[in-house]
Structures are given as structure tokens and as C-alpha cells.
Symmetry: C2
Subunit: 141 residues, 2 copies
């Protein structure tokens, strides 16, 4: 009997971004954007709840180090440099409110346009320079 | 009247990883993992459906280039180097099946362990070296 192929995954559990200044990342994602903080480990990471998924922000200098031979949890190393990208699903009706809120918080709106299908995307930078988008989920439906 | 602060976003719409070999990324995410392909632009990106969210895989050499002055869509540049991280939500009961399926496909299991709370995570590498996790969503509930 051929073993069954599992059904394709149908949900994102974790997305990751990198930032060397985790306090600044926490002020942005937890403070300005208002995400709940799940856990933080100073110098390594801060994790935020986004509904049923989690946004992980790591200091790549820490996560690039492989787990030591005595590590209790053999978490594989990873860690990127350069600007990453992440997008929040935000109802179309709330995008104007986000634009105003981000602007009041001193965050520059880098782009704000509609795709050919009509869905609107708003882009800012987090303190580490990652490209953070707020988009109508109709973009992909 | 103070403008209302929008409610925190409650869903991830897009997660991004980087890969210079997009055909290899498509063979891995579309072929081995079985995700549906939403769209591809050779040399720039291939996008995969993961339920209500989307996994974007970009060639960072392409996405780091700012949109030209005549660009119809002013998509902000981004692009990372080094190993990124992404995690699929997979029911606990399907993790053994994923382990077998990935192994049969010639993908090495880099780690497979339970977190202190009991949730299990399985880790592999995509062809670009990104750390890809399959985890029981109970990990964060």
C-alpha cells in the first residue's frame, strides 16, 4: 500500500521578520500596531499574536547560532539580513483608519495604491526597514 | 474628537521567503508540499496559497530593485539574504504523515521534537536553505 500523501497545509502558523533592535520592534508591532505580545526573550526574539497566526521577530545574530550540544530544544538556526516583507489582512473599510493612525504615529506611508483587481495595499517600514503591508484580503480571494 | 485607533490586525495575509532559484522553490512548495500556485513571474516570484493566507517566494535580486519612475505599481523594494523561517500549521495527527512524506521525497528532517507545552514541531530546509517548520497549532493556543 502506498502511504497517503498528507493534504496540503491550509494555514500559516508563523511568519518571521528580523530586527537587531527588538525593543524598537516591540514598540512598533506591540505599541503602534497594537498586537498582543505572546513572549519575549531579550536579545533573541519577541513574538506577536495575529489572530490564529504568530509574527515572530528575531535578532538574526542570536538565531543564526546553532543550538549547542547541550541544548534542550534543537531549534534549527536561521536568520536573514536585508529588508523582509510581511502583510496584515485588514478589511478595506479600515485602511483609511490605519493610514491616519500610522501617520499620527509618525510612520511614513511609503505606498498606497490599488492593484489591477481593485484591492488596496498600504505600505510602511518597521524600525528595522522591513516592508510591512496592510492589505484588503480581497487581494488574494 | 480623537480619531479611533483601528483594532489590531487579526490575520496574516502574506508571509515572505527568499530564494534565488524559483524553479526549485516551486518544485518544493508546489510539488513536495502540494501548495496551490497562485501566480508566478519568472525571475521575480512565485506565490502559493496556504488557506486564507499566501506564501510569497521572491528572488531578492529582483525585489530589491526599486520600482522605476514609470512603474504602474509602486511596490516598495525588499529582499533578504540568509536563511528565513516560516511555519505551516499542521494538525498533530498529520505530523507523522508529513515526516514520512518528506523523507520519501528525499528531504532531510533537521529536527523533530516537542516543546515544553507538549506541541510537536518538525523542521526541514527548503532548497534555498530557509528553515521550514510544520507544527501543531496548539503550540501557540
Amino acid at each position: 500500500m502506498t502511504p497517503a500523501v498528507p493534504p496540503p497545509p491550509d494555514a500559516t502558523l508563523e511568519s518571521a521578520l528580523y530586527a537587531s533592535d527588538l525593543a524598537a520592534a516591540e514598540a512598533f508591532y506591540g505599541g503602534v500596531i497594537g498586537l498582543g505580545i505572546i513572549t519575549r526573550q531579550p536579545g533573541r526574539h519577541v513574538f506577536f499574536r495575529v489572530g490564529a497566526s504568530v509574527l515572530l521577530v528575531f535578532d538574526p545574530e542570536a538565531t543564526r547560532r546553532p543550538p549547542g550540544p547541550g541544548a534542550s530544544l534543537p531549534v534549527p538556526p536561521h536568520g536573514g539580513d536585508g529588508a523582509g516583507h510581511y502583510c496584515f489582512a485588514v478589511p478595506e473599510a479600515e485602511l483609511d483608519g490605519w493610514r491616519d493612525h500610522l501617520t499620527r504615529a509618525g510612520i511614513a506611508i511609503e505606498a498606497d495604491f490599488r492593484w489591477p483587481g481593485g484591492a488596496r495595499s498600504l505600505y510602511v517600514r518597521d524600525p528595522a526597514g522591513n516592508s510591512v503591508e496592510f492589505a484588503d484580503p480581497a487581494l488574494w480571494s
